[in-house]
């Protein structure tokens, strides 16, 4: 997914002379082809996230469209004020591409996890927050990213994620995709959890429980219309995210529904509890710890019904 996203930056840069790439000391060989072809629009700066985000803002103020890339916690927490003030206050078309969203970097410990990125970025006016499910969907996001008028945060998943998106999706930032029509249950998921929910829905269907899956790839601006049309009439609404329960997708969905005056069905929010992670291992073992595997999601739905 990362290569797909970065290769798309190169492609966009060919298409549009305003596009520049800024990395903050990334891995060896990153976007080698772009560097060779258009060195004047390829920047590999040092380990200095505050600087690169401010620098991107400056470029955007003068008409460029910078795509900035580094590891998720460092492109969010480490330079939060630059993101808030330089990028969001000025409402600039800066794109932040975040490697290793959620618990992808499980073996590297809490400094390298991004489990509060939705919460802190969604709190910033003007910012759009997107977490696609697979590399194919990433291509569609990158295509529409060029014309998005304001700041955009792109959370990358692990890579090699099963492809569940469709060429016919008509992908648009801010418009959720109904991956499976609801029955008694509606699951709302984003990023890597959508695929888990689809598998959970299969398990539930085998047991006679029909449940839908709404892929909320854009956490902000949230697709209010989709929620308002799909939530009423369900027995159970479940939100599933690779993120802390505080302030993420589940919070956004509930805020939206409550503000719209919808009478809520029973709600279950699945995600990461309010604690720094205590273990290493892998993304998959952490999903298991937090009850986010397909089997565990199905089980929690069944218990809640």
């Amino acid at each position: 997914m990362r290569n797909t996203s970065l290769n798309k930056v190169h492609e966009l840069a060919r298409r549009d002379s305003r596009v520049v790439f800024i990395g903050s000391d990334l891995g060896v060989g990153t976007l080698k082809a772009m560097k060779a072809e258009m060195p004047e629009r390829f920047f590999m700066e040092g380990v200095a996230e505050q600087n690169v985000v401010g620098m991107a803002a400056g470029m955007a103020m003068d008409g460029l469209i910078p795509y900035v890339n580094t590891i998720a916690p460092f492109i969010t927490r480490r330079c939060y004020e630059q993101v808030a003030v330089d990028v969001c206050v000025h409402n600039l078309p800066v794109r932040l591409i975040a490697n290793g969203g959620g618990v992808v970097y499980a073996p590297l410990g809490p400094t390298h996890l991004a489990i509060e990125d939705f919460a802190i970025l969604r709190a910033l006016p003007n910012m759009a927050v997107v977490a696609v499910s697979d590399a194919e969907e990433m291509k569609r996001l990158m295509d529409v990213s060029l014309d998005w008028p304001g700041p955009l945060y792109i959370r990358l998943a692990k890579g090699g994620d099963p492809v569940i998106s469709q060429p016919t999706d008509d992908f648009r930032i801010g418009r959720a995709i109904l991956r499976r029509p609801p029955g008694r249950v509606l699951m709302v998921a984003t990023g890597a959890t959508t695929e888990r929910c689809l598998r959970a829905a299969e398990i539930l269907a085998a047991g006679g429980v029909e449940s839908g899956v709404l892929h909320m790839h854009t956490i902000k601006p949230l697709d209010v219309g989709a929620l308002l049309s799909l939530v009423p009439g369900r027995d159970l609404l479940v939100t599933v995210e690779e993120h802390l329960l505080a302030g993420g997708l589940g919070s956004a969905v509930l805020e939206t529904l409550v503000d719209a005056g919808v009478s809520l069905p029973k709600v279950v929010r699945l995600g990461i509890p309010d604690a720094f992670t205590r273990e290493y291992g892998s993304q998959e073992t952490m999903f298991e710890t937090f009850g986010l595997t397909a089997g565990q999601i199905a089980e929690r739905v069944r218990t809640a019904l």
């Binding site: 000391d25 990334l26 060896v28 380990v47 400094t111 290493y280």
Partner: protein, 285 residues
């Protein structure tokens, strides 16, 4: 052409010098972690081994049986991704059991891909996000002063890490507070993640930068055990200037095909041939 300092030149010439058995032993401990976890920052963990070896063997005061002993010296590996180097020393000094090394990065392990305080005895601060260690060290050095403890604080940073502005905020403050008990050490292996520092973010003249921020800046061959030992023993620690040690090192030192290779910064798989070649390179003389 850049004018290299005599110590930088000498360090380069000394690279052909073989490592002694203790240095090889410590690197074999790094490899135990690396292969146990099936991944790790190999280049980054091999370059500061002699710095840590001399600090733990000869310089720092600590008690593995009582890791929280208040008067201990504080050691912070600010470049936390090089943690296998510290884990090797912690195992060697019996802060942790040697068998723990093989659990590196595993689900239940105390040894993650970055060191966590409160999990690993002997680790003072959780690092891994670069550019934090010197500020923490500054705070510890001030605490020692306020509490009238003899503790000294040693902070090891990467050369890429010092791109972070926060490092220089801490440096300015340390100069202002005249913290003789604070020693900043730069593991100057000339490589960061993407490429050589000269390509990504040139740092020279580096000793002059630290001096301008109020430090006594000293260059040393970071693999020369005797030179490191003499340097650390020669410091006063009670003067009115913090010390910056610019240690000229080789990324990947001890594993010939990894030395000076940006691509050996981090690996998450090793071929059988590589495993054999690493073992062979680190056999005792």
């Amino acid at each position: 052409m850049r004018q290299d300092s005599p110590i930088r030149q000498a360090a380069r010439q000394a690279e052909a010098r073989p490592l002694d058995n203790r240095s090889k032993h410590l690197r074999r401990l790094v490899v135990e972690g690396l292969l146990g976890g099936g991944r790790g920052h190999i280049g980054s963990s091999m370059s500061p081994i002699e710095i840590l070896r001399v600090l733990y063997d000869e310089v720092m005061r600590f008690d593995p049986a009582n890791p929280k002993w208040p008067d201990r010296d504080r050691f912070i590996l600010s470049k936390g991704h090089g943690c296998l180097a510290q884990y090797a020393l912690l195992a060697d000094k019996a802060f942790i059991g040697r068998e723990t090394l093989a659990t590196f990065c595993k689900r239940e392990s105390i040894l993650g891909g970055h060191p966590e305080a409160g999990k690993v005895p002997g680790v003072e601060a959780s690092t891994g996000a670069l550019g934090h260690g010197l500020s923490i060290g500054l705070g510890m050095a001030l605490a020692a002063r306020i509490q009238q403890r003899p503790s000294r604080v040693f902070v090891v940073m990467g050369d890429g890490e010092i791109n972070e502005g926060s490092v220089w905020e801490a440096a300015m403050s340390a100069g202002k507070h005249k913290l003789g008990n604070l020693v900043a050490i730069v593991d100057y292996n000339k490589i960061q993640s993407y490429a050589f520092t000269d390509e990504v973010q040139p740092l020279d003249p580096l000793p002059e930068k630290w001096a301008a921020f109020g430090f006594d800046a000293i260059e040393v061959d970071g693999h020369d055990v005797e030179a490191l030992s003499a340097l650390f023993r020669g410091l006063r620690y009670d003067g009115d200037r913090p010390t910056a040690i610019i240690a000229h090192t080789v990324k990947g030192r001890g594993v010939p095909f990894a030395e000076h290779q940006p691509s050996w910064h981090h690996k998450n798989k090793f071929t059988d041939d590589e495993v054999r070649a690493i073992a062979a390179a680190l056999e005792d003389a």
